[in-house]
Symmetry: C2
């Protein structure tokens, strides 16, 4: 079994900590390990580091190797440009085919938090069994814990038996991010699951599906496959990649494919997607104040705050529902619930030509 960790994100939403040179998954935001280190640590008991592939951009490759010494350097696959998840997964699939003809591949985002890693591994092992037995596409469906409007949902269909003790369902339909009213209905219904972005299938199976629904991508991937290990590999990958359309695997394949299965699961998943989310998943004092990164913080009548400031004392007076993030060259003070607008700050800095701050 192979793991494929997709580590191509820009992660501007954790600005000012995340920067172009150091996106979210390369930062120690949740613990003293970086998010990608946690992802590898979590899957390692199930899949050996020599079978863990990481797909990333050129500028992050060196830092990834530094952070993950146990993963062989040749397992860091470089995308010359970002072309969304269909291309990323296809690239990993042809690498696996080149290496071992065929194998089950477990596709994982690089930036999730998991409270129960043992359960997580059981579910993945079950998904791998199902993927192999049925030669089909298998996803992990997360039982929703809130009417979240930021995720896509999957509707559960007919039962397809069990795999390694886990229930297996057909996926009846994929649903785009809902509005709040819809999300509430999904939550109440009980048969809708968050699309976790975790996929399990054989390399040969996903490539066949790509051939069916994204023939241009497939032909590009075949050209890349032929070049792997030759002197023209880098040139070919670069040329092909630039010509590819940017399509997500969900939109490009999953929503169109016939045989898609899902294992409904609960293992304390969280999308560590923003400073707001970090506050939500962080331990807090009785007043709701959370500290990230060991900051020395003094409170005077402060509630529901998050502070990241590892090198400097912070004093909060009369402050409620505020996120404070301090780095060497920038300071963010953000009302809770509005951290998605961090992107606007990054855009403004880009417009001002302040490259060193983004």
């Amino acid at each position: 079994m192979h793991a494929v960790i997709m580590a191509g994100g820009r992660g501007t939403r954790f600005w000012p900590r995340s920067r172009e040179k150091k996106p979210k998954h390369l930062l120690d935001i949740v613990s003293d390990r970086t998010i990608i280190q946690e992802t590898v640590d979590r899957i390692k008991p199930l899949i050996k580091p020599k079978n863990i592939l990481i797909v990333t951009g050129q500028k992050h490759a060196r830092e990834l190797m530094r952070q993950l010494p146990e993963v062989p350097a040749k397992n860091i696959l470089i995308e010359p440009v970002g072309r969304n998840t269909a291309a990323c997964i296809g690239l990993a699939a042809v690498h696996i085919q080149k290496k071992v003809k065929d194998d089950v591949m477990v596709v994982l985002p690089s930036d999730h938090g998991i409270a129960d890693p043992a359960k997580y591994r059981s579910v993945i092992a079950a998904a791998a069994e199902a993927a192999e037995k049925k030669s089909a596409l298998v996803t992990i469906g997360l039982a929703p814990t809130s009417p979240h409007t930021g995720f896509g949902y999957m509707e559960g269909g007919a039962s397809a038996g069990k795999a390694a003790g886990e229930k297996l369902l057909r996926v009846k339909a994929f649903r785009e991010k809902p509005n709040l009213e819809q999300a509430r209905i999904f939550l109440q219904n009980g048969n809708f699951f968050w699309n976790s972005g975790m996929f399990v299938w054989q390399a040969s199976v996903i490539l066949k599906e790509i051939e069916k629904f994204l023939p241009d991508l497939h032909s590009g991937l075949m050209t890349i496959h032929a070049s792997l290990g030759t002197s023209s590999e880098a040139r070919t990958v670069s040329k092909i990649y630039k010509s590819l359309a940017s399509v997500s695997i969900d939109y490009g394949v999953m929503e169109k494919a016939k045989d898609v299965f899902m294992i409904p699961a609960s293992f304390g998943w969280s999308d560590v997607g923003s400073w707001d989310t970090l506050w939500e998943i962080s331990p807090k004092d009785p007043q709701g104040n959370a500290i990230a990164g060991g900051s020395h913080t003094l409170y005077e009548n402060a509630e529901n705050t998050l502070v990241y400031s590892p090198n400097k004392l912070v004093a909060l007076i009369g402050i409620k529902d505020v996120l404070v993030v301090e780095t060497k060259d920038a300071l963010l003070v953000c009302q809770r619930g509005q951290s998605q607008d961090v992107k606007k700050i990054v855009d403004a800095l880009e417009a001002e030509g302040k490259r060193q701050l983004i």
Copy 2:
């Protein structure tokens, strides 16, 4: 004419900028000059630097000399310990007597903002004329612009004619800091004035009043007077000062004296007493955001904020009515209207033994 600038304050209310080693009046909070430099700049056209005395503590003397090269070093009078304004003014008075037998002394706090310095000097010149002609205690009464509860008030009494074109009134009564209801009545009445803490009188006159109401202080001052210029001066001042009671000139003398006059005045006075006050007197953008110290600040839906962060970009998202102050080793985020609680943070740091942060 001599000026006596009282520069003994701790200024903890401007933490984290103000520190024990650098209280408020030694900081460039309002402009690119420090507050004490502005005070000297403002009075210099009326009183030559060689006649400007500054009373301060030992640990701030060197910095004062550095900031005020035009003031002779011997004019920096050191109090071995702080003993409130009666002792401070008495010490300056005996120095003036030693130097020139007698002279009018203009007593000024070190930390006020004045929008109209020309008018300010006219009023002080008029007060000096009155103080000399009547051999009496003269104060400056500020026409209140709001029902402020943080200042003492003086009630105007009978007219006492004019001095250099300015109206002169007897002071009928001193009133301690009022509650809001009282303050509103004072404001509406029109005959109540803020006690500015600026006093004008002859050295001989204030010493006579001190003799009458604070005989112990007077006898101590006489001992100091006799020691000035002798080899025992430092020892004597130190010994006497430690034995003195801590009494304000208002409570100790002004409220008890018979012949106290006031010049009612308006010259754009402000007490730069806290980060809240600084926001109030600062120029603001249409959303009410003020920047102190040239900070590079980006706003996304921010209103009525103050930012001091000269060395670091600040991004505010969805933040309203917040004061943000960033220094090399500390960061303050404070709800507007609560900056008086900065003192509690300083106290907490003291309790934690974090001497380097206070």
